[in-house]
């Protein structure tokens, strides 16, 4: 799976969690760019990402994921 494909599917998850159908993701998008992105929705996000990509993320991996670029990179290593 290439990073564009990951980004498309990740966008779908973000749009669902943040209830924002037009949300566009950039690699540099962080929690401060999305109003509802807090520690709790972060967890919702992780659980949905795990389901979407059928992967499992560890606590320390979750902690390290600060922006969309981190998400894409980590998902990339897990799915390939």
């Amino acid at each position: 799976m290439n990073s564009d494909e990951i980004k498309t599917r990740l966008t779908k998850v973000f749009r669902d969690i943040f209830d924002s159908p037009n949300l566009e993701l950039r690699d540099g998008t962080t929690a401060s760019d999305i109003e509802e992105w807090d520690s709790l929705t972060h967890v919702d996000l992780i659980v949905e990402v795990e389901k979407e990509f059928k992967i499992k993320l560890s606590t320390s991996e979750v902690r390290k994921m600060k922006n969309v670029g981190d998400f894409i990179a980590l998902i990339g290593t897990k799915v390939s």
Partner: protein, 584 residues
């Protein structure tokens, strides 16, 4: 809207629906406080949506994280200021674990009852206490069970300690999260990453199941209970078609082919014994169908276990309407079980309030499928529940007797009715609470009181006159069938509640009680009696109640009548000698 109790329990769906939800439109509004040592921000939207889907608007107070004691021990806390109708005490196994490893378990046995006591001192709200899902770790392996104080066995004893305590405390309802967790499987239930990251007490996917268990208790507390299960016969209650194979040929036996049906009937019998009425609604010849109950020795259910027996070739929706008319209960308190999807859909279509669960193809799975829906929640269990089926049977006999009289007065006289009206009695409190919960039609104001509130009225001998009415006749005792609560206010007697079981409609009970109310008012030298009517979707039958007695509309929902204007109404009920007068 989704019908009762069949919401789809998908976490994301429930969270999504909770956004922008306007719950103020529901006629039923409740206030729920949630106090927890886990984080509950993800949980509340789920609870809110589930209640909404059951027709209830809920406003929440979310206590600060891990502040159960602070909130409950301080009478000035935000929790008490919120004035909740319900408080949910959600203690997480994970939080218990960390206290266990630092201080041991002993203090925990005292801690929770102390919190209950504080709440009950400061509030009349109902308490929903969650028990603890058992942990997965067992340092001693299976030998753990032989130890008193491993975390695993300590949680077990704490759970059973809570169970014992709530038996004597009717205002506390136990939410059996341990059974929810074990049903889903402990390994799926716990997600320790989520606990570490944000103190969520279980996997997100299972928050809805936990919420549903609480919603079930809330619904039961508000009187939303199932009163009757309506059963199809062929391939639901037994295997095969009785019209083809005869009463002896149907599959029903303790072993072998009929075992699934045998087990299912045992389950239904246990429901009947706990007060749920059983009715039959089947496309069959009456005689063929009845023969199975009467002559097949393998049947667990006997003809007497069935209160209303409808076997004919009419459509099932019409038959269910007739069952409703006979039993005088609402459609929303009925469950219809039928193996045939066509019949299920027909009933759903014509009677959307009737609860119609999907049944699995294999009858071996019936009980498990029905149990998963947790349809039969109750909050109290009384003598009347055990006897209910018999009471409705006696009622059928009375109706038969009625047919042999042409004059209603002759019939009423022949019943030899005797009534007792007294203040609430401690030994009847659970029945009283139940009548408040279960009465929908003959109920002037539909207030739902908890046992604690009933007891507080009972003990308020200055201002409150809370009356319970029991009736018996020559066919048997009806038990406690009517409740009237009146308050002395200046020179008036104000009736806040008047309700009656529909089983005794048309016998002059309300006239008898009204005579009693005015006699009491006269005795207390009061000038007026007043009462209210608050319309609901179900109580139209009493909309003219006050007018029929000659009360004048006094504006708003209130009606009034001078004591001097009331003339006692002749009735065919005599008073049983009774010890104490209503109030001094």
């Amino acid at each position: 809207m989704n019908p009762n109790k069949t919401s789809n329990l998908d976490y994301r769906r429930l969270v999504r629906s909770s956004k922008g939800l306007d719950v103020s439109l529901h006629s039923q509004q409740i206030r729920i406080a949630l106090l927890s040592d886990a984080a509950t921000q993800q949980f509340i939207p789920v609870l809110k949506t589930l209640l909404h889907e059951n027709g209830i608007g809920a406003v929440f107070y979310e206590g600060p994280f891990d502040a159960i004691e602070l909130e409950t021990l301080n009478p000035a806390s935000g929790f008490y200021q919120f004035k909740p109708d319900f408080v949910i005490l959600l203690n997480a196994t994970q939080a218990l674990r960390s206290r266990y490893y630092s201080h041991g378990m002993e203090a925990e046995f005292e801690r929770i009852p102390r919190i209950w006591k504080a709440i009950q001192t400061n509030s009349l709200c109902r308490v929903i206490q969650c028990n603890f899902p058992l942990p997965y770790e067992r340092p001693f392996g299976q030998f753990d069970l032989k130890l008193q104080n491993s975390f695993y066995t300590a949680v077990q004893s704490l759970n059973s300690h809570l169970t014992t305590l709530v038996k004597d405390n009717s205002n506390i309802l136990l939410c059996d999260l341990e059974s929810v967790a074990s049903d889903l499987g402990r390994r799926n239930w716990f997600d320790d990453r989520l606990w570490d990251m944000c103190k969520t007490f279980c996997a997100l996917d299972h928050l809805p199941a936990a919420a549903q268990a609480m919603v079930d208790l809330v619904l039961a507390s508000l009187g939303r209970v199932v009163k009757c299960v309506i059963l199809d016969l062929d391939n639901t209650l037994w295997g095969g078609v009785v019209g083809d194979v005869g009463y002896a040929g149907v599959e029903i036996a303790a072993h072998g082919d009929g075992e699934a049906f045998y087990r299912f009937q045992q389950y239904l019998l246990s429901l009947k014994n706990r007060g749920i009425l059983l009715a039959v609604c089947s496309k069959n010849d009456q005689a063929n169908a009845a023969a199975v109950f009467e002559s097949n020795p393998n049947m667990v259910l006997k003809r007497d276990d069935v209160t209303v027996f409808m076997a004919n070739w009419e459509n099932k929706a019409d038959n269910i309407r007739q069952i409703r008319d006979t039993l005088q209960i609402g459609f929303d308190s009925m469950v219809f079980l039928d193996d045939n999807p066509f019949e299920r859909n027909l009933v759903r279509n014509f009677l959307p309030d009737v609860i119609v669960p999907e049944l699995p193809e294999d009858p071996a799975d019936y009980i498990s499928a029905i149990s998963q829906l947790n349809l039969f929640e109750i909050t109290a269990f009384s003598r009347e529940d055990v006897a209910r089926s018999a009471l409705y049977k006696e009622e059928a006999d009375r109706r038969e007797a009625q047919n042999s009289f042409t004059d209603i007065n002759d019939f009423l006289k022949s019943l030899e009715m005797r009534a007792v009206v007294t203040r609430f009695k401690e030994e009847e409190i659970s029945r009283i609470e139940q009548l408040f919960l279960r009465s929908n039609q003959f109920n002037l104001t539909t207030h739902r009181y908890s046992e604690a509130e009933c007891r507080s009225m009972m003990n308020d001998k200055q201002a409150c006159i809370p009356l319970q009415v029991s009736l018996q006749d020559r066919f048997g005792a009806h038990g406690l069938i009517s409740i009237v609560v009146a308050w002395r206010q200046a020179d008036a007697l104000c009736i806040s509640d008047w309700l009656m079981s529909c089983r005794v409609l048309g016998r002059g009970v309300e006239q008898y009680v009204m005579n009693h109310v005015f006699a009491t008012a006269r005795q207390l030298r009061l000038n007026t009696v007043s009462g209210d009517y608050l319309p609901t979707a179900k109580n139209a039958m009493v909309k003219d109640f006050w007018a029929r007695f000659g009360f004048e509309h006094a504006g708003g929902t209130t009606w009034r009548m001078p004591v001097a204007a009331y003339r006692p109404i002749p009735v065919h009920i005599s008073e049983l000698p009774q010890p104490e007068m209503a109030a001094r």
